[in-house]
């Protein structure tokens, strides 16, 4: 019974940490906007904990450049399992309009595994909420696999 409750809780309490990996801010601000009254992702139990050690979800925006890719990796590694990564925006997905710039690695999945891709430049907050919901699903599946 306790196991079940933990299982259920996992889906109901995704704490997030947001890392701006070289975004133009468009996506960051939309991610932040999800926390604010109109969208209020706390309805789903999401709390912006700001600390990878507490987080279940890593929300990454931006095109990933050669400097912050190290930080991205480290933050990901510091998150305890089970965890999921949501890549937000064209930049996070592929490097977007900056793909060819010299300092851009291009796409978060080149550095860490990504579970959910959220399209848009920037995605609407609704899309980000969809992404979170999707992440919760993948994340349940992951926990089941691990068990």
């Amino acid at each position: 019974m306790i196991k079940d409750f933990i299982e259920k809780s996992r889906a109901k309490s995704p704490w997030m940490v947001h890392f701006d990996c070289g975004s133009c801010n468009g996506c960051d601000i939309e991610t932040l906007a999800c926390l604010t009254p109109i969208y209020d992702v706390e309805r789903f139990g999401v709390v912006n904990v700001g600390n990878p050690k507490h987080a279940d979800l890593l929300m990454v925006t931006g095109a990933v450049n050669h400097r912050n890719k190290h930080a991205l990796k480290k933050i990901y590694d510091q998150m305890p399992d089970p965890k999921a990564v949501v890549a937000i925006g064209a930049c996070g997905l592929s490097g977007g309009v900056f793909r060819e710039a010299y300092n851009v690695v291009g796409g978060i999945d080149k550095v860490i595994p990504v579970d959910v891709y959220v399209y848009g430049c920037p995605p609407k907050p609704e899309a980000i909420i969809d992404g979170v919901v999707k992440a919760i699903e993948t994340f349940k599946a992951k926990a089941r696999e691990a068990a």
Partner: protein, 128 residues
Amino acid sequence: MMFMTPHILKNLFQKSATRMYPLEQREPFERARGELAITVEDCIFCGACARKCPSQCITVDKKTATWTLDPMACICCGICVTACPKNCLQQELVYRRPCTEREQISRQGEIRRRPRKVKPADEEKKAA
């Protein structure tokens, strides 16, 4: 402290400002620049969209009549839509839903051998 208190108390006793997405969904705005869609039947594979696209995320292969979009790189600017001489591109009102796998969108049209005589799209434009 005194200044904010009436404000938050008002919030408490009002309905919350939250839009209960996804339970409640708002009508999208008319101009919303959502997912890019192609009516591939009308496409003449001229490549204008591919050339104009600031993100260079469309590839058009005239020979095989394929129109390919890398949605992951599309920045939803709508430049291609304006550029298309055939008006066969359009941005839907809703955005593309998040996914869990990388994907490419490839549309196969029919390979036209002869150059067309009539340009229906152009005519429409003139009429308008």
